[in-house]
């Protein structure tokens, strides 16, 4: 799938801007603060319906405007064109259209357009908290199969519901017979959807492990050993049993202490945990390797490469690694943003100055 045309109206620092994109590698050049990341963010928004900066969609609307529009024409591998439009309204409901037909729910757009973003922020996958790593896994799952979006949302919701029951149990003296059954049924629901999500994550981690190692070797040119592990202590006994064991503790604390919302991904590099032991450069290369491996896996499984956006990641790498990254990307459309010239093969160059094409 490729993006042929991207139009931004009142998005971030863009009043109106139209980008014609072609197959191959396009470099978007611009000085700091001129709108490179904003462009990458808008493109990725159509694929994930969220900002990779982790902010609500309101932040994407240009300051002073009530709503913004992101519009793209995409062409899939069979040559079929579609027009995708997202209208973001500050404080209101966002709307999404495909070929001028409004979709009943915004989330129905997921899967229509696929984009992988590499960003300097990816470092949080290695250095950040468990939530950052869970997000990486879940985003990858959604890119592999859209159904995981619903599962991940349901897990979030069931955890919130269970926590609310726990809190209300603490504050009021409601009939305990009923409370027991109420918690039983929420536990049962959480173990059902949570179990499915954790199983999918663990399977993904198993598949990614060797691929991350390969990606790291491709980028660094060293025979480094990388091992991934999915950490979910409750999986030995099953979630329903683990939740039952934790119930008294959870009732005192008013939060659910076990489940997929507390799990983690460990990345071990040459026998050492990367978060605490790896060097800055190793951590950066690891983060890239995780993204590259996920991108390769999605390309392989879905039989088509997502559009790849490299937002300012090359400038952080030495020339050797930057070149290695470009050499090891699967074939497909690539958009690279940078403040300085980019090494390697470039098919087209676009310049932006202050939210305008120069």
């Amino acid at each position: 799938m490729i993006v042929e045309h991207l139009e931004l109206i009142d998005i971030r620092n863009y009043e109106t801007a139209t980008f014609e994109l072609r197959p191959g590698t396009t470099v978007v050049l611009g000085d700091n603060g001129h709108g490179k990341t904003n462009l990458a963010e808008a493109l990725a928004y159509l694929a994930t319906l969220s900002s990779f900066r982790g902010v609500p969609s309101d932040a994407l609307v240009r300051l002073g405007a009530d709503r913004g529009v992101i519009r793209a024409t995409i062409r899939d591998d069979d040559g079929r064109q579609s027009l995708i439009e997202a209208e973001l309204t500050v404080g209101g409901r966002n709307r999404v259209q495909v070929n001028r037909q409004r979709l009943p729910r915004v989330r129905d757009l997921l899967g229509t357009m696929r984009v992988t973003v590499f960003s300097p922020d990816d470092l949080v996958i290695v250095k950040g908290g468990p939530g950052d790593r869970r997000r990486f896994l879940d985003d990858t799952l959604v890119a592999l199969a859209v159904k995981y979006d619903a599962i991940r949302l349901e897990v979030d919701r069931v955890v919130k519901q269970r926590n609310t029951v726990l809190k209300s149990a603490k504050s009021s003296s409601t009939n305990h017979g009923d409370l027991g059954i109420t918690l039983d049924v929420w536990d049962s629901k959480l173990s059902d959807v949570g179990g499915r999500l954790a199983h999918a994550r663990a399977t993904l981690v198993d598949r990614l492990g060797p691929m991350v190692q390969q990606a790291y070797r491709d980028l660094a040119g060293t025979a480094t050993d990388i091992e991934l592990g999915y950490v979910a202590p409750w999986r030995d006994v099953g979630l329903e049993t683990a939740l039952a064991h934790a119930r008294d503790h959870d009732m005192r604390r008013g939060v659910t202490s076990v489940g997929p919302h507390r799990d983690d991904l460990t990345v071990v590099i040459d026998q050492m945990p990367s978060r605490t032991h790896a060097s800055q450069g190793e951590q950066r290369t690891l983060a890239l390797s995780l993204r590259l491996a996920a991108h390769r896996l999605v390309t392989e499984r879905t039989d088509s490469a997502p559009v790849l956006v490299l937002d300012d990641v090359l400038s952080e790498l030495d020339r050797g690694r930057a070149g290695a990254l470009l050499d090891h990307l699967p074939a497909g459309q690539v958009v690279i943003t940078s403040a300085t010239d980019v090494p390697g093969r470039v098919d087209h160059t676009v310049r932006i100055v202050d939210g305008q094409l120069a």
Partner: protein, 203 residues
Amino acid sequence: MVSAYTPPVQTLIDELGRLPGIGPKSAQRIAFHLLKLPSADVARLAHAINDAKDKVRFCERCFNVAEGALCPICADDRRDATVVCVVEESRDIVALERTGEFRGRYHVLLGAMNPLEGIGPEQLKIRELLTRIDAEGITEVILCTNPNTEGEVTAMYLARQLQPLGLTVTRIASGLPVGGDLEYADELTLGRALEGRRPVDDG
């Protein structure tokens, strides 16, 4: 909190914002729409709300909307009193009646378990359902709550309460769009789901 609007306008926005599915932005838009309408139109809307509230009440037995003490279904003695279909809202009865598959009676819970919205089993008509079992000689309960998170959990809760009473407890078959509402299911799908209901396993 300081409001940008004069008190009557702010009160209207607040009241509208309390309605299900209406967020603050929509409440604001509807409020200003109402203010622009001719007085007669507004009076007609206000009258329709008051009139419905005055004339319509809940069936004493099943909590379906009714004009008298009993809803038309409870008042119809040709319906099978031994089978009860449990739904979240009256509008689900309309959907199920359209299928023409069901000849028993209903019980409306008036919602589903949703702790985030302050709705637990106590806020639903569950105790009333339990008292109906013996009183009406009910032998089968079909759980027709919505196929979404809250509906599923409510069905599980009811199953746990009903099974010790020695009844046949069944759950409407899947095949309904997951995460959806009964009211949006077409009657063919809904009819099949009702026919293909399955006993709930002991949890």
